[in-house]
Every structure is written in structure tokens, then in C-alpha cells.
């Protein structure tokens, strides 16, 4: 279990608990449940890498406490 921090630099900073084998799509659903935006509207990036929905957090090497960027589609 790990905790990821997502920040959109406009006031929304969200801490989400998730498993390593969750996909980015699942992470988006959890973020949507916490922030209230729709899951399809969320885009998770790290610098210019847009994270794809079907790949797991472990494969992207996302560890506990890591910060990701929250953008909107």
C-alpha cells in the first residue's frame, strides 16, 4: 500500500492511498472520488510524460509519497 500526492498547482492537493498493482485508471477513479471531478477528465503527468490508463503504478515505478501532477483534459 502506498500513498501518492497529486497536486494541480491551482489549489487542489490530494493524498490518495492505493496499491502498487492498481492501474492509473483506478488511481484516477480514486482521485475523482476525492476531488469531485469526473475520472475521464483527469490527466496525471510527470513533467511531459502523460501516464496511460492501463499501466500499473508499479510499472511506472511510482513509490510511496511520490508527487504527481494533476491536469485536466
Amino acid at each position: 500500500m502506498l500513498e501518492v500526492v497529486l497536486n494541480d498547482r491551482l489549489g487542489k492537493k490530494v493524498r490518495v492511498k492505493c496499491n502498487e498493482d492498481d492501474t492509473i485508471g483506478d488511481l484516477k477513479k480514486l482521485v475523482a472520488a476525492q476531488t469531485g471531478t469526473k475520472a475521464e477528465k483527469i490527466r496525471i503527468q510527470k513533467w511531459y510524460t502523460i501516464y496511460k490508463d492501463h499501466i500499473t503504478l508499479a510499472d511506472y515505478e511510482i513509490h510511496d509519497g511520490m508527487g504527481l501532477e494533476l491536469y485536466y483534459n
Binding site: K17, N19, K29, L30, A33, K41, I50, K52, Y72, N73
Partner: protein
């Protein structure tokens, strides 16, 4: 400026019609090459030509959310605001299904509630296949009537938020709309008649034995629905008079009738769009069911029986009229207890009763989303 709305266009829902499409999606459309090349200077007539060339519907797809030509044309229609006649022509035309769906979508966004129901419901009869591009870029198969159903029931389609329309039963209760008549109603009626004939044969063979009642399907349908509450009340008064001896038979009758009603209820759900109060009634009744059953076990008599059956609501109130005997009560209660323990076991697997409240909360959200609990 190519992206400005026609100054003569009316404002829709109090705002620039183009604002019906959200800012981010709108910007993506403005930057799209299809918009820039093909949709420049389109009028209502040339729009029809472009619409005929459509071969799929969809919203935005891919990581960068590229828009489909479908929503580019929707935004173009919002920009130029064609007349209602033209939109209705789009919907009525039979040859080009994508033009039809385009017109239907535009009408759903801009039309009044009555127009929406009046013009979109006939499209439920159109069973043709459509190609839809999903959010990840793949094409899926769907049908015209499925798309229309989404437009009428959901509030988000093709990456555009649908404006709210009143529920159908509100308009029906005001008399503005007539109750929905499905094309399949004739088929249902034929089925009913067949079953009624079968049931008649069954009754002749079995005499007055009410147990046969629940083998065949109950003939009470929508037409007889209004008659049923009265026949109930009449029968209950008979029971109240003969308390002890007839309780055995009464119990069986209740059970059979409840079973029938369950089956009928499923059928109602297919056609009956009026009973929106059902969900609420169901929850309330379930809470009361447990309490009432215990009370009824002790209270021998028609006192309890009178009130629920007399209620005019067609909802699950009727289900509450269970058998009053203590032995039956215990059997049902133990069944309920078993269900509860099995549910509790499931919850433990979900992890929602984790000692740490934060984790329990997180697991609850995950369960509601359909994800496994945290490790």
C-alpha cells in the same frame, strides 16, 4: 473570427450556445485540423454534406484528447444555430443514421423538454448499428436506440454535459405529454393473451386450488392493476372475520400472491416508468418489515393486517403482509440472520472494518468503485 458565435444567434440556457461544450473540450476542437479546414464558413446546407460523410460518433479520445468530427460538427451547429425545422429534418431523415444521431444530439442540447421527448422517443425504434469511438481510441459497436437511451437517461455523453430535462412522469402528470406507448406493447399483449389461455386451462384442471395461481403467470397486468388493490381489500375483510381456522389458507394465499407480485413487478419495471417512488418505498419497507414481522407474530388478528393492505400505494407495502404464525417467523428470521452473517464475512474481505478508520474509509470507497481493498 471563425470561432465567434453568429451574433444573431439566441442565447441558450442563458449563455453563449458554444458554452454548452466545456472550455477544455472546446479549445481542443478549435485547435483541431478538421475544424480548421472543413468547418470553416459552413452554412446549414453545407453542414448537411459534411454530416453525411460522418462514419462514427464519439467524444474525445487518446492521451491528448483529440476530438472526433462528430463533436466538431456539433460545435459548428451550436455556432451557426440552424432552424428547428432543419434539425427536425435531420432527425426524420431515414437514409443517413449519423445525420439522424447528429440532429438528435443537437436537439437534446438545445431543445425544450417537450421537444426532446417528442422527437427523440420515436428514434427508440431505430435498431441500426453505429460505430462509436471510445475514450481510449478503440471503436465499439452500438445501436441508435442505445445512443438515444443514453441521451435521455444519462447526463453526460460524448464528452459533453447534457442540460437537465424534466423527468417524463412530471410532464405526464401535468398532462403536457401522453404516457409512453412502446412499439413492443402489441407484442407484450400477445404474450399475455397466450398465457391467459394457458392459465385458464390450468384453472379448469385444478379446480379452486389457489396454489395453481402461482404456477402460471398471474393474469393481472397493467390493465388489471387498478382492479387488484380492491380485490385485496375485499378478501382481507373475509379473513378478518374467520381468524383462526382460515389462517392456514390465508397464509398460503398471501405467499402466492406475494410471489406473483414479485414476478409482476419485474415486468412492470420494463414498461412502467411512472413508479419513481418505488426506490424510496422499498428502502422504507425493508426497515419496517423486520419490525412488523415480530409484532405480527404476537398480535394475532386482523388489526395489523388491515392497515398495510388498505394502503393505496402500489409499492412493496404488499410484501410486508407475511404470515403471522410464530413458527414461520422464526424460520424467516434465522434465514435473515444467516444472510447478515454472510454479508459481514464479505465485508471483512473488503477490509471495510479495518481497525484504522482512515484505511476502512479508503476501502469503502474502493469497494464502491469496484476495486480490491488496500494491502
Amino acid at each position: 473570427m471563425a470561432n465567434r458565435t453568429d451574433p444573431a444567434a439566441k442565447s441558450i440556457r442563458g449563455t453563449n450556445p458554444q458554452n454548452l461544450v466545456e472550455k477544455i473540450v472546446r479549445s481542443k476542437i478549435y485547435q483541431n485540423t478538421y475544424w480548421k479546414e472543413q468547418c470553416f464558413g459552413l452554412t446549414a446546407e453545407t453542414l448537411v454534406d459534411k454530416a453525411m460523410e460522418l462514419d462514427h460518433i464519439g467524444g474525445t479520445h487518446g492521451g491528448t484528447r483529440r476530438p472526433t468530427p462528430f463533436i466538431c460538427l456539433i460545435l459548428k451547429m451550436l455556432q451557426i444555430q440552424p432552424e428547428k425545422d432543419i434539425v427536425v429534418e435531420f432527425i426524420k431523415n431515414d437514409d443517413y443514421k449519423y445525420v439522424r444521431v447528429l440532429g438528435a444530439f443537437y436537439l437534446r442540447l438545445t431543445g425544450t423538454d417537450i421537444d426532446v421527448y417528442r422527437y427523440l422517443e420515436p428514434l427508440y425504434n431505430d435498431y441500426r448499428k453505429l460505430r462509436m469511438q471510445s475514450a481510449d481510441g478503440k471503436f465499439v459497436l452500438t445501436h441508435v436506440d442505445e445512443v438515444i437511451d443514453e441521451l435521455l437517461t444519462k447526463d453526460y455523453a460524448c464528452d459533453i454535459a447534457m442540460p437537465r430535462v424534466k423527468k417524463r412522469w412530471t410532464l405526464e402528470s401535468h398532462g403536457i405529454l401522453e404516457p409512453r406507448k412502446s412499439v413492443l406493447e402489441d407484442d407484450f399483449e400477445e404474450e399475455e393473451e397466450k398465457e391467459e389461455n394457458e392459465q385458464m386451462d390450468g384453472v379448469e384442471n385444478g379446480g379452486n386450488d389457489e396454489k395453481d395461481y402461482h404456477h402460471g403467470r398471474s393474469p393481472t397486468r397493467e390493465r388489471d392493476r387498478d382492479r387488484r388493490p380492491d380485490s385485496h381489500r375485499y378478501r382481507d375483510r373475509d379473513y378478518d372475520r374467520d381468524y383462526d381456522r382460515d389462517r392456514g389458507r390465508g397464509r398460503d394465499r398471501d405467499r402466492d400472491r406475494d410471489r406473483d407480485r414479485d414476478r409482476d413487478r419485474d415486468r412492470y419495471r420494463l414498461r412502467d416508468e411512472k413508479d419513481y417512488g418505488r426506490e424510496r418505498d422499498r428502502d422504507r419497507d425493508r426497515e419496517r418489515e423486520g419490525r412488523d414481522r415480530e409484532r405480527r407474530g404476537r398480535d394475532r388478528g386482523g388489526g395489523r393486517r388491515r392497515s398495510p393492505s388498505r394502503s393505496r400505494s402500489r409499492s412493496r407495502d404488499r410484501k410486508r403482509r407475511r404470515s403471522p404464525s410464530p413458527r414461520k417467523n422464526e424460520a424467516e428470521e434465522t434465514k435473515k440472520k444467516e444472510k447478515k452473517t454472510s454479508e459481514k464475512k464479505e465485508k471483512k474481505d473488503d477490509g471495510t472494518d479495518h481497525p484504522d478508520p482512515e484505511i476502512a474509509e479508503a476501502n469503502r470507497i474502493r469497494a464502491s468503485l469496484g476495486l480490491k481493498p488496500l494491502k
